[in-house]
């Protein structure tokens, strides 16, 4: 069944239409890869859907409800979470805090002024468990500012994941890390995602990664959807091969 | 009737001085993204230097000479600025704003006392300049010619500044830097030089404000702090970093204050600050400001 559906979603920057009346759907339970060359509008689409940008026109329906007008934090409540291509962390807090914060927020505990955070044992246990799933347990008490780029990418995802979203956008989870690190990171992420049966949309350049990890692929080009299908279908799709794969592999 | 005209003149008088102070403040912020809490003291500094120099020269100097001495205060303030920027402020551009505010706050305290150290606690005057020009008859009232001169200088300064920023090559560099410091330096602009120049000009304006004020009034301690808060109102109304804004804001403040004094004395000051608040609410970046 259709978890997210946008209709004629449009976002302009001046003349350029970053997102050009896109009808984009995500099905419950799938891991979807969003591909396309730079400037194809992938990130813009995610930004609009996740609420970072306001669309110029079109609607976003999530679980049968129109969320187009919702503020970011309300979308989070509704169950749409995302990670960031350029990592967005709380650098002066520990990894544990970074993750725990998502849980506090999710459980609506952040409005507690006069209770010690540390007394919410369950939250910390869960936070620690999540860190472990992402292989970050060892640095749990370090400051997020002080860990390696690879770990930062994972933590960024972990923060989003800790919200237990129904739909998780992962914006280039392996960008900016060495090719050696790419595979391990993707393994961890996809493992966690599948294990927890989270519907995920992954923006990715690296086609090997894409074909290996996704159930379905949506290819974007110049702000609109070029093609959509299983990895095999996409491999065989003319338009895609000419417009994207060639470019990507060249 | 003539009283109304005079009220108007007063408003303009006040506005032109405020414009010089606030314009400098705004220019500096626009280019360097620094709010200089000690800016008011540079205004005071200009006033003291001019008063002092005129006082020294007074003995037998030709009146014309005295008038030529007027801008000395401005130059002095500019020099002071040229010293302060590289020594005190430069280390802070990469630091958080609170540090910049604090260091200029400390500077404010230091300058306040330095002026007392040099010129003593007593007010310094240069009234001879104010008196020599006599007064102009307006209807059945008279108005000091000197005040008209100040208004003139204010207008001229505004014109010059405008031409400088929009018509000269340096103006282009200045604006480029204020738009995007990184790109400017990428394009080979020597940002450090631009900064010191901008800061110096800002201080020059403040100093000029003080220099032209002092003959009509006098240089007193604490004049800087009072001026600063009003300059804030001006730049907030006009928009931090916008010269047009500073001009416009100065006019508003000048007029409101002038009629505040006669019409609603109790809330004369409060109204000014409230204007600032309202503007910030309606247009956070001020009436002429670029939205940050």
């Amino acid at each position: 069944m259709n978890l997210l559906q946008t209709t004629r979603l449009t976002k302009r920057f001046g003349e350029t239409r970053a997102v050009d009346s896109v009808d984009f759907g995500v099905n419950e339970g799938e891991v979807l890869a969003l591909i396309g060359s730079n400037g194809a509008g992938k990130t813009s689409l995610v930004n609009v859907v996740s609420g970072l940008l306001r669309p110029d026109s079109g609607t976003i329906v999530f679980r049968g409800e129109d969320v187009t007008g919702l503020s970011v934090h309300d979308r989070i409540r509704a169950g749409i979470a995302r990670s960031f291509q350029l990592v967005n962390l709380f650098d002066q807090l520990t990894l544990l805090d970074n993750v725990a914060l998502s849980i506090f927020s999710r459980e609506d505990l952040t409005r507690q002024l006069f209770a010690l955070a540390d007394h919410h044992r369950a939250v910390w246990e869960e936070a620690f468990e999540i860190l472990r799933q992402f292989g970050l347990a060892i640095s749990a008490t370090q400051l997020a500012g002080g860990i390696s780029q690879g770990e930062r990418k994972l933590l960024d995802v972990a923060i989003a994941f800790a919200l237990r979203p129904r739909l998780l956008f992962l914006d280039e989870p392996t960008s900016g890390v060495s090719t050696r690190e790419k595979a391990p990171i993707m393994d961890v992420i996809t493992a966690v995602v599948r294990l927890n049966k989270i519907t995920a949309v992954i923006i990715e350049h690296d086609m090997d990664v894409v074909f290996r990890y996704s159930d379905r692929i949506v290819a974007m080009h110049q702000g609109s959807i070029l093609a959509s299908g299983t990895p095999d279908e996409i491999r065989r799709n003319e338009a895609v091969t000419t417009n994207l794969l060639g470019a990507a592999h060249a | 009737m003539d009283i109304l005209v005079i009220h108007l003149f007063n408003a303009l008088l006040y506005a032109s001085v405020l414009f010089l102070i606030a314009g400098g403040l705004s220019l500096i912020y626009g280019v360097m993204r620094i709010v200089n809490l000690a800016h008011g003291n540079l205004y005071a500094f200009g006033a003291y230097v001019t008063a002092w120099v005129v006082g020294q020269a007074l003995a037998g100097a030709h009146p014309v000479v005295l008038y030529l001495l007027l801008p000395v205060g401005a130059v002095a303030a500019a020099l002071l600025g040229a010293i302060l920027e590289p020594t005190l402020l430069r280390p802070f551009y990469r630091r958080a704003e609170e540090y910049q505010l604090l260091v200029t706050f400390g500077l404010l305290m230091i300058l306040e006392d330095l002026m007392r150290f040099f010129w003593g606690p007593y007010p310094l005057t240069a009234t001879s300049l104010f008196e020599k020009m006599g007064s102009l008859a307006i209807g059945e009232s008279v108005y000091p010619r000197y005040n008209l001169l100040v208004i003139g200088i204010g207008v001229l300064a505004a014109a010059f500044l405008w031409a400088f920023v929009y018509k000269t090559r340096f103006g282009v560099v200045l604006r480029a830097t204020s738009q995007d410091m990184r790109r400017a330096s990428a394009m080979g602009v020597n940002v450090n030089r631009v900064y010191i120049q901008a800061f110096t000009i800002g201080c020059f304006m403040a100093g000029l404000g003080g220099a032209i004020v002092v003959p009509g009034q006098s240089a007193v301690l604490g004049m800087g702090v009072d001026a600063l808060v009003l300059a804030f109102v001006v730049v907030v109304v006009g928009g931090l970093g916008s010269l047009e804004g500073a001009l416009f804001g100065a006019l508003i403040v000048g007029i409101v204050r002038e009629f505040g004094v006669s019409v609603f004395p109790e809330v004369e000051l409060a109204v000014l600050y409230l204007i600032a608040v309202v503007v910030l609410l309606v247009r956070p970046a001020g009436l002429f400001g670029r939205t940050a």
């Binding site: - | 009283i3 005079i6 007010p123 005057t125 007064s135 005040n147 009034q217 006098s218 006669s262």
Partner: protein, 456 residues
Amino acid sequence: MKGPVTRRDLLAKLGVTAAATLGASAAGFGVAGIARAQEKPKGTIPDKPFRIGHMTFFTGPGAVLGEPMHKGNLLAAEEINAQGGLLGKRKIEILKADEAAGLDANVKEMRRLRLSEKIDMFMGITSSGNTPALGPAAEELKLLTIFIDGCTDNLFDKAVPNPRYIFRVTNIQSADGSTCALGVAQTWPDVKKVAHIHPDYAYGRNCFEHFSIVSKKLLPKAQNVSEAWPKLFSTDFTSHITKTLGAKPDLLVTSVWGGDYISFYKQALQHGLFDKMRVATTLALGVAPHAIGKDHPEGVLAGVHANYHFSYPPGNRWPLNKTFVEKYKAKFNEYPNFQAEGAYTATHILRTAVEKANKLAGGWPDDEAIISQIEGMMIAGPGGYVYIRPDNHQGYKDAITGFSKNVPEYPFPILDPARIITIPIRNITAPPGWPKGDPTSTYTWIDQTWPTVKQA
């Protein structure tokens, strides 16, 4: 006073006289003089120095009043130390403290001086905003104190209604406004439209109130046509002057003083204000006599805080003043103002009290003994007789004001010797036992006891 009274009657009753004879109110009091030879003190006197904490404005615009105050204190201390100190033994030591640090800091500083510097006495204070805070603080510290100025009625009306340790030597503030009004009533009885420009703080308000109440009694026809309240220590009066001119009054009353007044009169000159109306001031020549230029118009009612101008009493009739002015001029190369006179007198009040107390009991007198000597003391100072009223510890000296005049002897205007106006102070201040009132006891006293003159 009952029944219809003419202005002339009332002025006469109040003893408002031009070029008055001295010491009218001195009669019947044991008068202590200032410069007289030291007698041998009784008993043994410790020779540890007598420390006076002197707090006044050493910084900021208020320093035009503060510095002379300190100088007056210094001069007197020197005279006394030259004779070996208090009772020939205890040299006076003066610790400076800056009043400009702000009220909060001033209260702290007074405590520090007493509790950790162990001062024996506190003197000074210029701002009438500060005494109401420091008075109670001094009482709390049981600290013998003579305030020189800070002369707000509020201090002994409300802040410290029953003072024990604190005194004040210069005339009570309300005398300023009243004296100014009486001067006007006597000189320009025909004023109809009055405009006011006062600094927006205690002193300005007080002058406005007392001028108003007195003129209500003596100038019932006069009405208030304009008020302007510039910030204290602001030097831009353009707007306020314009407002005043716009109201077309025939008299301007102003209590603007110090550097403010200099800026004011220069600007007023250029606006032709002095040609359009008469001007009555409360403090024009009072602050720094030598700072006023010869361009200052003559014939302005030029107040001296109802206290003292160095040109009066004239030296030939009052040698004390002659010697004081000469010494002061020689030492500081400027002319003393009322603050200097006040501090000088206050220091000698201390000396006199200590000597008298010593005569009675011998040895170094304790504070109680000194206090009981100061209470009710009548002493001749440079400015004339000062009487310290025992009930409220307030110093009273005959009020004086006059008219600005340029004379060849001085490079600045002085009070026209021919037209000095003096008023016996007790005629314009609430008598002992008068209930504390609002805004001031003197105000309610004038309001309730003075008749309103019938227009003659």
